[in-house]
Subunit: 283 residues, 2 copies
């Protein structure tokens, strides 16, 4: 599994406060905590790939400079030896993504593109893909164009458009992290069924492509039982082919379940990640 | 899901003590706690079927009388209105099963048969099946004959023999709860793969048959991370077709995950069980 660590998002109140105060120590600590939670090079045969998601969530007029500041702090906090750790640059603005990724020392992931257009009428793929084409950057792509597609077929039509754009700009499928968009089960009883069917069709067409999702959308509208739903979703989604997740790496229940599913599905060679996670006290 | 409640087993030290002292109050309380945890008729549209497993785990010479005492206590504790609650009669001796089930007021489940032979050389199916044939009793059947079969094919060969016995004695597939036997993942890395493949083949042949398993075998040998493994197994096994489980109904994490998987797989009509479980404070 590839982990995209979600804890440095300005939408989180304590993070917004740290950003407003330019509290660099806070940013550095939160970055390091996620990095330590996801791997320990003394124990893991294979360090778990971690992308620390960095999202300013500020007024657009200051977003780029805020992202730069955050990225600088994160990079200052993560030692070079942690070579499994990189950054996911997160903005609703494709233009900001296409600038901010350059602040990173090593290739990470752009979060995200879709077939949606920005205020100038340009499709997000057309802004980001050419910017990252001659790099090793990955990119999350959401299967939406105008609102959330209601059916599997509608999602797959958007997928086909995204893959056509990827081909046009020379982005290999293995660099893409497709988020089929999972709705809240409280709103749409078929939320997981739709998600799962998309995963299967996408992996059938492109075996090397990545699949990703947030793990808490599914449980919106079920206050008090979000955790069982998020955990069930994680296990079932991994079983359907999802190989990355936007998650809190310090959430031991989630990470433990992730390792456990990998072990049972024989994706964890010789149980090494699981045993190591235990020794490290992660579980 | 059908729940087989595992908390009244003499192999559990506090239960053994209660049995030795003939502490009826203990047995009654533990039975009622499981029944309450699994359902609440004021909230659930559909009460969850619960079989309270009763296992004496005593010297064979006193096992039948002990089982009778335990069954009497359980039946005294469970009000008739809880009509989703019955008993699973649990003994390693098929002869004891074939006698003890008669102590129950209403049909339950015999735990269990297999193709193994008892001390007199009689196959367990040949003792239990004729005894329950003209009743509504269900029966758990383990896919073993001499030791745990090592491959999917070996397990399926035992399965075929059991189904031939069931046909011979007039036991419809819908009365059977097949336990494909899950090994510890620490011992056999392919433990879940084997289990899952058996589930699929069994359900393909007999869509109305039930599948069951304990939820803690999988994690033997991983002290300190048994819970994530057991939970991952539960979710993945349900996804593979397992529709019943031998579990502690008072374990909120497990039961919550069970409801969550049913909801996501659209097996929980209109999210009623999940919402009800929340109102009841189960989750």
């Amino acid at each position: 599994m590839i982990i995209i660590g979600e804890k440095l998002n300005g939408a989180i109140p304590v993070v917004a406060q740290a950003i407003a105060k330019r509290d660099g120590e806070f940013i550095r600590q939160r970055a390091l905590a996620q990095a330590k939670a996801a791997q320990d090079e003394d124990y893991f045969e294979e360090p778990v790939p971690l992308y620390i998601d960095v999202c300013a969530s500020t007024d657009p007029s200051v977003e780029l400079e805020t992202l730069k500041w955050m990225i600088d702090e994160v990079q200052a906090a993560i030692p070079d030896e942690m070579d499994n750790v990189a950054i996911a640059v997160d903005s609703p603005s494709a233009s900001v993504c296409a600038e901010a990724f350059k602040f990173c020392k090593k290739p990470g992931i752009v979060n995200s593109v879709s077939m949606e257009k920005d205020a100038e009428g340009r499709i997000k793929t057309d802004i980001v893909f050419p910017a990252i084409a001659d790099t090793d950057w990955g990119c999350i792509a959401l299967l939406c164009e105008s609102g959330i597609p209601q059916s599997v077929e509608d999602r797959m039509q958007v997928f086909d458009k995204i893959m056509a754009k990827a081909k046009e700009y020379g982005i290999a499928p293995s660099r893409l992290y497709i988020d089929p968009l999972v709705e809240a089960a409280a709103t749409n009883q078929a939320a997981f069924t739709l998600f799962s069917e998309c995963c299967k069709r996408i992996k059938d067409q492109y075996p090397d492509i990545h699949l990703t999702s947030g793990l808490s959308n599914i449980s919106f509208g079920f206050p008090g039982f979000r955790k069982p739903l998020n955990m069930a979703f994680l296990a079932l989604a991994m079983n359907a082919g999802m190989d990355s997740a936007i998650v809190d790496p310090t959430n031991k229940d989630m990470v433990g379940l992730m390792y456990a599913v990998e072990l049972l599905k024989e994706q964890d060679e010789d149980c090494m990640n699981y045993i190591s996670a235990h020794r490290q006290g992660l579980l």
